[in-house]
């Protein structure tokens, strides 16, 4: 089967993830139970939203570090509006407006003023953290109870969580946008060579701003999901774990961190990989001091296996 080698090479993360699943299943048969699969599917939703937004940013050759704390900030925005009005609609609108505004701001700074995305979004990370503590006076908790939150947090359709279905739909949409619209091609082009993209007459700045608006919107959605599932919001939630998991998911799925290359499918599998590891940590009841060793070692082993499967030794020089 000559194509098997190629399949192995290009879709390696699928094999690594499946191998991990088998391994965990052998250790604990409960791993592959329906319940556990559905728990994984729900847990990856916020990470997946971050990963999806980050995907376009990274392919365009940038990075958005503000996504994690951004989702916390937007969750609080939702909470504040819910607390004020008792209704959800206004809160959702506010989250969308605020997130798009933040993304626009990031995008303008990066595209028009040519500031490094790393610093701009790091600054936004700090600012979002600060604002999240300043807009709720005295750090009160705001409880989010109601049908909407229950629906987002735990609603199911034919045994699958709505939030997961929503995520999958977004990935499909992203797949279509990435592969079948101009915008997708422009993002790839910019990530390969901003200069050449400009030469081809692409409005590079506009695309970049769009990319950042999309990532911020995704973090807004992640904030909505996160807060619905937790049932409350409060300043001081930590969004950076989400951020790192999201970036890890897309890179392990074959996206180049320096931009220009990646597949949506790979990102999705990378997301599953991260979800599986996070879940296994709990499921296998890994003792607390060994947590990080486990996580680090599994990722390194996956990278190594990846390489054994397909990477060539040579620096690509000719």
């Amino acid at each position: 089967m000559p194509n098997f080698g190629r399949l192995l090479r290009e879709k390696n993360i699928i094999f690594v993830t499946l191998a991990l699943c088998v391994l965990f299943y052998l250790i604990s048969p409960r791993f592959l139970s329906l319940d556990n699969m559905s728990a994984i599917s729900r847990q990856i939703v916020p990470i997946g939203l971050i990963a999806l937004g980050q995907y376009f940013v990274v392919v365009s050759g940038n990075i958005d570090l503000s996504m994690g704390m951004g989702s916390v900030l937007f969750a609080i925005v939702l909470g504040v509006f819910f607390g004020l009005t008792g209704g959800v609609a206004l809160g959702i609108v506010a989250v969308i407006v605020c997130s798009l505004a933040l993304g626009f701001f990031n995008g303008v700074l990066v595209a028009k003023l040519k500031l490094p995305a790393f610093i701009v979004t790091l600054a936004m990370l700090f600012s979002a953290q600060g604002l999240s503590g300043l807009i709720i006076p005295r750090g009160q908790q705001i409880f989010l109870m109601g049908d909407f939150f229950r629906f987002i947090g735990a609603g199911k359709f034919m045994g699958l969580y709505w939030s997961f279905l929503f995520l999958v739909a977004l990935f499909v949409l992203a797949y279509v946008v990435y592969n079948h619209t101009r915008w997708g091609a422009y993002v790839i082009a910019i990530g390969n060579s901003e200069e050449n993209a400009r030469l081809a007459g692409i409005d590079v700045d506009r695309v970049k701003i769009g990319v950042f608006m999309f990532s911020a919107l995704c973090s807004g959605l992640a904030g909505i999901v996160l807060s619905s599932r937790m049932g409350f919001v409060q300043p001081g939630l930590d969004g950076n774990g989400l951020l790192l998991d999201g970036i890890a998911a897309i890179i392990i799925g074959g996206t180049l961190i320096l931009g220009g290359r990646g597949t949506i499918g790979g990102a999705f599998w990378g997301l599953l990989f991260i979800g599986v590891i996070n879940n296994a940590l709990n499921l296998l009841n890994v003792e607390d001091v060994w947590h990080q060793v486990f996580k680090g070692a599994v990722i390194l082993a996956a990278l190594g296996a990846n390489w054994l499967l397909w990477q060539s030794r040579q620096v690509e020089a000719h």
Binding site: R30, S33, D35, N36, S38, A39, R42, Q43, G133, R138, G139, Q141, F143, F149, R150, G153, A154, L226, R229, M230, G231, F232, Q234, P235, G236, L237, D238, G239, G241, L242, N278, N279, L281, N282, L283, N285, D288, V289, H291
Partner: protein, 320 residues
């Protein structure tokens, strides 16, 4: 300078819900004391090391150089701060170690974490109804002294009966977001789970929400006395909690600093009064099941009252 009292509070973080309540109690108390005592100008600052040991050391060094009157330090690790205590004392600053006691400090402000944890564990025993009862325990960050002490206590309390079984223990690193996934995993992994116990109320919020949303009938045992959790005790899923209350504690700091400034000398190890909280029925039920009578218990209303109004116990009136 008699006419001035400058209090600095250096904390390991500012992100946990508890920290947030702490800060607001502290700030309110500073204002209230400053207003109440015309003769003294009372100022306070609250620094957060954001979890970083290095940052906390730097903040402490800078603060010592500023020579405030009293420093409260919630050290990430007490060993690391021994060298600085001496320096502070040289500069004439009163050092109060918060939560983890320090031999060298002028005072240590402690919580009796082990005893509190034991109370929580015993409450679990007493309310479990004698049948097989499965509980999962959510821990702090590996190595964190408060977390370790609370865990030790909870385990000790649970060991007082043999129907309660700990099916899982996982650290959530004081992180609410992490707590959410862990709770979720537990609920799917242990379909017959009866209760979740945690070393902080921060874990209770997402756990309760997930249980409610997925229609699970779990019981919860908290620690911290966060007001929203206390509110879920009367006929709610939360069965017991430990009344620290961040706001209460913040008020108590200021009261303590004021007393020291006025020349009083509290105990070298100042043990913060942290009663167990239960509803009245549950307390009665527990007593009937052999819960020790000498454990001090606040009922929900009373707990809510003191938690919300730190000035009741520790306000300017308490020292006038």
């Amino acid at each position: 300078d008699e006419g001035k009292l400058d209090i600095v509070f250096i904390n390991d973080g500012h992100v946990a819900p508890y920290h947030v309540a702490w800060l607001s109690g502290f700030e309110d108390a500073i204002e209230a004391y400053d207003d109440a005592f015309e003769d003294i100008e009372i100022t306070g600052r609250w620094l957060s090391a954001e979890g970083s040991l290095e940052k906390m050391i730097q903040q402490t060094e800078v603060t010592i150089n500023e020579k405030p009157d009293v420093m409260f330090v919630n050290a990430i690790n007490v060993d690391a701060f021994e060298p600085l205590v001496a320096k502070a004392q040289e500069a004439g600053i009163t050092w109060i170690a918060v939560h983890s006691p320090m031999e060298s400090a002028d005072y240590s402000f402690t919580l009796g974490d082990v005893a509190n944890g034991t109370n929580q564990g015993m409450a679990m025993c007493a309310l479990s109804g004698g049948e097989a009862y499965k509980v999962a325990v959510m821990l702090g960050q590996a190595g964190n002294p408060s977390g370790e002490a609370r865990r030790e206590g909870i385990m000790k309390g649970i060991a007082s009966c043999d129907n309660v079984e700990v099916v899982a223990e996982q650290p959530a690193d004081w992180d609410t977001v992490k707590a959410q996934s862990i709770a979720e995993n537990w609920m799917t992994q242990y379909p017959d789970l009866d209760a979740i116990s945690g070393v902080t109320d921060a874990y209770m919020y997402p756990s309760i929400a997930i249980a409610t949303n997925s229609g699970k009938d779990l019981e919860f045992f908290g620690y911290d006395g966060d007001i929203p959790i206390l509110q879920q005790m009367q006929d709610g899923p939360v069965k017991a909690d430990i009344l620290l209350s961040g706001t209460r504690e913040g008020w108590n700091f200021v009261q303590m600093a004021y007393r020291i400034h006025k020349g009083e000398t509290p105990d070298k190890v100042y043990d913060f009064f942290t009663p167990l909280v239960m509803s009245e029925e549950n307390h009665k039920l527990a007593l009937a099941n052999g819960f020790p009578e000498d454990v001090q218990v606040y009922y929900v209303d009373q707990a809510l009252d003191v938690a919300a109004k730190g000035y009741l116990e520790f306000g300017p009136d308490s020292v006038k």
